[in-house]
């Protein structure tokens, strides 16, 4: 492994020497700066041999250079032009990290006159992993179970889908290269032998004999034979194979609220085995005023108020104009239906809570209020990229969204239940100014949606976001790696208006894309573990912050005292 890196590094030096010779004659100001340091284990501070270190000029991303640190962990890039460089390192068993990385922020290294860019201590964190074996009710390995890894954010507590994996033939899954943090693991699968017969196939005759002999052959009491007694005419027996697995969280629970978070420290190898238990599968019959002949359905299960998971274990059938979704377990579901009556396709959506076999009709209203709207842009220009409008219910955590079309129109996919919603818009280059709703009461960016009539929203987006440059100082000396935070002075402002940066090696920072308004800027030395979206947590620091009023297209230069 080392060989190629050494050769690469030697070549790099050769090129650099050549560059220097050329430079000394032409432009003496360039090419004489260095970035050097040592790569160490973040926990033990011992040097790490042969890490691969890369520098990339911040403004020229494709001009990267890579070298391999020595046995003593030392690395050196010399003959550099003045400027800012991003520094990253990777090594087997460690996370690939930028210098002093915190989430999406890191400290860039600035080289030039009177700047310190040598003897850097580059701390790498060992990567953690979660692996485990998924077994079924008879402790046999479950192949091809879908395992989902969620991470809970430290600053806002939000769950983020981090990775998916499938179990192999031994039921084993593995998530590697994880950063320290709080994780949840969920398994979803269906029993490999599951069968979801149609109502007319759920006939008793063929099953009458099974239990009489299975007592002898099947001594271990498996579900295959446990529910065979009731075969009285006219009553549909529960098929022993008509079963499903609920989504199962580590340690072995089917409710997210009961799931145990896995708190990983650097380098930890965590084992999270999961045992799946089949339960009788539920059948959901979907009818309409016109017979349904064909169709498809997307099923999402609600895990928490803010988190849904697609369900793949269901199967579908059509009989007598009724569509049946099978293979579900008790729970709360969102269904998106496309049904065909022999002539036309129609779309509908349903939210259902089921605890047994159930029937729903697409004709019944589910109380959802249709929501659509338009996005109006201030000044010239068009939206670039994908823009989404979100309606967020703080109380339940429920989130609804719609994509903005080329005509700047949007529609919330299945409507929303009546309630109070924070409206958010994700876009680049514009900021959310005002909200209007007909009908509906609006306070700031919050809309109250009543039952009944469809609601139309109008969102006005402004242009001309401001930019704040500055330097973080402690005793008048620049400080690298501190957290710089722009806090809106309006206490009702959503977290999306906060702006964050990390100071570079010369203490400078740049906060771009700031929505015009009044802010307080603070620089916090140990701010990275702070739950900064909580105002109570921030309050003690705001008094020593610097107030900034951002005008449209305004550019500001400030000095911040590091707290």
């Amino acid at each position: 492994m080392a060989r190629i890196f050494q050769i690469a590094a030697i070549n790099l030096l050769a090129l650099a020497v050549f560059a220097q010779q050329k430079d000394t004659s032409a432009a003496p100001a360039t090419g004489k700066w260095k970035i050097s340091g040592v790569v160490v284990d973040a926990t033990s501070s011992t040097p790490l041999a042969r890490a691969q270190v890369t520098i990339t000029p911040v403004t020229r991303q494709n001009e990267f250079h890579t070298m391999v640190a020595g046995e003593d962990g030392r690395f050196l890039f010399d003959n550099l032009d003045p400027g800012k460089y991003t520094l990253t390192a990777e090594r087997k068993g460690y996370l690939r990290e930028a210098f002093d990385q915190h989430g999406q922020h890191s400290t860039s290294i600035v080289v030039g006159p009177k700047l310190q860019s040598e003897n850097l201590l580059f701390r790498l964190h060992r990567d953690a992993s979660i692996s485990g074996t998924v077994t079924d009710e008879q402790n046999e390995a479950v192949r091809n179970a879908e395992i989902t890894l969620f991470q809970q954010g430290t600053s806002n507590g939000q769950l983020v889908l981090r990775a998916r994996a499938n179990t192999n033939d031994e039921g084993v899954y593995h998530f590697s290269h994880l950063s320290p943090g709080k994780y949840f693991v969920a398994a979803s699968s269906q029993p490999w032998y599951a069968q979801h017969p149609l109502p007319t196939q759920r006939r008793p005759y063929a099953r009458t004999g099974i239990n009489s002999s299975q007592g002898e052959t099947n001594g271990d009491g498996k579900p295959a034979t446990s529910q065979e007694e009731d075969t009285s005419p006219g009553q549909q027996p529960i098929s022993p194979l008509d079963v499903a697995y609920p989504v199962t969280f580590y340690p072995a629970v089917t409710e997210f609220e009961a799931a145990a978070p896995i708190v990983l420290s650097a380098g930890e190898k965590f084992t999270a085995d999961l045992n799946l238990r089949a339960v009788p599968a539920l059948h959901l019959r979907i009818a309409s005023s016109v017979p349904i002949q064909n169709g498809n359905v997307q099923v999402e299960a609600r895990i928490t108020g803010e988190l849904n998971m697609p369900v793949h274990s269901q199967s579908m059938s059509f009989e007598g104009g009724v569509m049946e979704v099978s293979g579900l377990v008790p729970g709360h579901y969102f269904l998106r239906l496309n049904s065909y009556d022999g002539k036309n396709w129609s779309r509908s959506s349903k939210e259902v809570s089921i605890s047994g076999d159930a029937k729903v009709s697409t004709d019944e209203k589910d109380g959802y209020v249709p929501v659509s709207g338009v996005v109006k842009l201030e000044g010239a220009g068009n939206l670039s990229g994908q823009t989404n409008v979100f309606l967020f219910d703080k109380a339940s955590g429920a989130r609804f969204w719609g994509q903005v079309s080329a005509k700047n129109e949007f529609e919330i996919d299945r409507g929303v239940p009546p309630g109070r919603y924070q409206v958010l818009v994700s876009t680049t280059g514009f900021f959310f100014k005002t909200l209007a709703a007909t009908p509906g009461r609006v306070t700031g960016h919050i809309v109250e949606i009543g039952p009944g009539a469809a609601v139309r929203l109008t969102l006005e987006l402004g242009q001309g976001m401001g930019r704040v440059d500055g330097v973080a100082l402690k005793d008048d000396m620049p400080v690298a790696g501190v957290m710089v935070l722009l806090v809106p002075q309006d206490s009702a402002a959503p977290p999306q208006l906060f702006r964050l940066d990390q100071s570079d090696s010369d203490g400078t920072f740049t906060v771009a894309s700031v929505v015009p308004g009044k802010y307080t800027a603070v620089a916090l030395e140990n701010g990275w573990n702070l739950q900064w979206s909580n105002r109570k947590v921030l309050k003690p620091y705001l008094a020593q912050g610097v107030p900034v009023q951002i005008e449209p297209n305004g550019k500001y230069d400030i000095k911040l005292k590091v707290q």
């Binding site: 190629i4 087997k92 192949r143 091809n144 033939d169 032998y193 002999s213 002898e216 052959t217």
Partner: protein, 556 residues
């Protein structure tokens, strides 16, 4: 993150039963059993019991799924002793299926008529399932450090319809310990390869301009850079084998050359593909001024493919297989558009003159061809990735000819099936090439005369008897025209007898095999090994002939 590529692999290996001969009255011939199904007693019900066992160990398989279909439908899991038991079955016929993760159905011995009679004489049955094979192992570098995210591929060598070909059986990525594991493999012959260039950390260095070394494009087990010198691994049912790779980085070689026939104004796209069909990162640069290209490539067996499209939407392509073990200068790549072949069918019918010719006037715009024509790609490597088969379609201009569009250069077998009743293929020619004797070679950018097919209807009829047959064997008859040895016809044996009609006049060899499932019977060399046990006959037009042939056992 392991096995994410397997998301869409169907988990269940559905398995069909095998009726073990002696245990079971159904073991003789199904057809002879039919009359013995007793007269119906509508109220009587019957039971069916049996056991599911592993074909290799004979051990019972607990919790196997057993499904009945046909006149009764039901399903249960076997008990801890592998046994199952259905009662209350009405009289009739059923098919029994069994499955269990980790096992395959026993296809080779599957009776073609698997309708089991249910009645008072139904006895216990035994179902065998074939355990899967697993390949697992480790990939490390020359220093013994594990290589993560290397792609380990398993290429299966299969025989399908008498022809051998390679197919991508499965693959996996190594984890951070360098380990991989590939299950759900059937018994058979496999070539195993590894591509270490896909490891992320490596890509960065490999693509940097300073780089002088890289992992080979693909390394075949145990340690070969080209496919032909790879050692296949033969797996028996249920076998789990460990395969380890130790990979060395090797110096990059310089390749350069010239591209010709590039349409004006179009930009060529260079792709370096390893023989697994994966695009390798490459640093091949093209100079539009003089139409030359150059780049650095790790050693290995590759395809260099250049594609370009012209303003009228034609897709131009040049493709060359290069086994890079030294620097290559002066590569010459010629861009061509795909070949379009027309197929003309002529009939020389003696019995219903004009029947076909007349019908075209009435069915304007309708596909009214007398034949199905398909090209089968013979390069086994091409076959693994591309559509192996290209079917002729009616010409858009409304003429009677058929068109084979978008044919790339290569070697093909031209297969023809007459659709007209009583017709046989008298000849298939492309210019002077007899396509019954030889393969069709399509040169790059070449023009070929139309394929001309002559159909006749004065064929011969052949009936025959197979000696020493057991009625379990219902397929396996081969009739091989000596004037078209690569185009044998297969037929079925019913109660030891067989029958063919509409055979072209000429000399034939007739083989009766216990099974042609794994037999490469379109390869004359393979078939030649059994030639001494074949019957020979020469058929003339409108003749009827009879032969007797011995059964050849290919497996025991």
């Amino acid at each position: 993150m392991r096995r994410k590529l397997h998301l869409i692999v169907p988990l269940r290996a559905w398995l069909i039963i095998l009726f073990l001969g002696n245990l079971f009255p159904f073991s003789g011939t199904v057809l002879s059993q039919e009359p013995r199904v007793p007269a119906a007693n509508p109220s009587a019900t019957y039971k069916l019991e049996g056991i599911v066992i592993s074909s290799t160990t004979g051990e019972p398989i607990p919790r196997a799924y057993v499904q009945l279909s046909g006149d009764a439908e039901d399903a249960i899991l076997t008990g801890a002793d592998g046994r199952f038991h259905f009662e209350g079955l009405p009289e009739g016929r059923i098919t029994v299926f069994a499955s269990k993760p980790g096992f395959f159905e026993n296809i080779e011995k599957r009776p073609t008529h698997s309708k089991l009679p249910i009645g008072p004489e139904t006895g216990p049955i035994t179902v065998t399932l074939v355990p899967e094979c697993v390949i697992y192992g480790h990939v490390e570098d020359a220093n013994g450090e594990p290589i993560e995210n290397a792609k380990v591929g398993v290429i299966g060598i299969k025989v399908n319809q008498g022809r051998k070909y390679w197919h991508d059986a499965s693959d996996d990525r190594t984890d951070e310990k360098g380990n991989f594991r590939i299950a759900e493999l059937e018994a058979g012959k496999y070539i195993i390869n590894v591509d270490a260039n896909s490891s992320l950390a490596h890509d960065l260095v490999y693509l940097s301009k300073d780089s002088q070394v890289g992992y080979p494009g693909l390394v075949y087990y145990p340690d070969s850079l080209d496919l032909l010198s790879a050692s296949p691994v033969t797996l028996a049912a249920g076998q789990k084998v460990q395969i380890n790779f130790s990979l060395k980085r090797q110096r990059l070689f310089h390749i350069s050359g010239k591209l010709t026939a590039l349409p004006a104004g179009s930009r060529p796209d260079f792709e370096l593909l390893n023989l697994g069909g994966d695009r390798r990162p490459s640093s091949i640069q093209f100079s539009p001024q003089d139409s030359t290209f150059e780049g650095k490539v790790p050693p290995g067996d590759y395809k260099l493919r250049v594609t370009a499209s012209d303003p009228s939407g034609n897709d131009w392509m040049a493709e060359q297989r290069i086994n890079i073990s030294h620097d290559f200068a002066n590569l010459h790549l010629l861009l061509t558009v795909p070949v379009r072949l027309s197929v003309i069918v002529k009939t020389e019918f003696t019995k219903q003159p004009g029947a076909i010719a007349n019908s075209t006037d009435e069915d304007i715009g309708k596909h009214n061809s007398e034949v199905d024509v398909a090209l089968i790609a013979l390069d086994p490597f091409v076959a693994s990735r591309h559509d192996r088969r290209k079917e002729a379609v009616p010409s858009e201009d409304g003429s009677d000819s058929l068109i084979l569009a978008d044919v790339r250069s290569g070697r093909y077998s031209v297969e023809v099936w007459p659709l007209t009743p009583n017709a046989y293929v008298q000849s298939v020619r492309c210019g002077t090439v007899d396509l019954r004797q030889d393969d069709l070679v399509v040169p790059p950018g070449g023009r070929l005369p139309p394929i001309e097919i002559i159909l006749r209807d004065d064929g011969a009829e052949l009936t025959g008897t197979v000696r020493n047959t057991n009625a379990d064997y219902s397929s396996g008859l081969l009739i091989v025209p000596q004037f078209a040895p690569r185009h044998p016809q297969t037929g079925s044996i019913s109660n030891g007898e067989f029958q063919f009609a509409n055979l072209a006049p000429g000399e034939y060899k007739i083989f009766a095999f216990d099974s042609t499932w794994r037999l490469e019977y379109k390869n004359p060399d393979i078939l030649g090994q059994y030639a001494s046990r074949a019957a020979s006959i020469t058929l003339s037009t409108n003749s009827k002939a009879k032969v007797t042939v011995d059964l050849i056992q290919t497996q025991e």
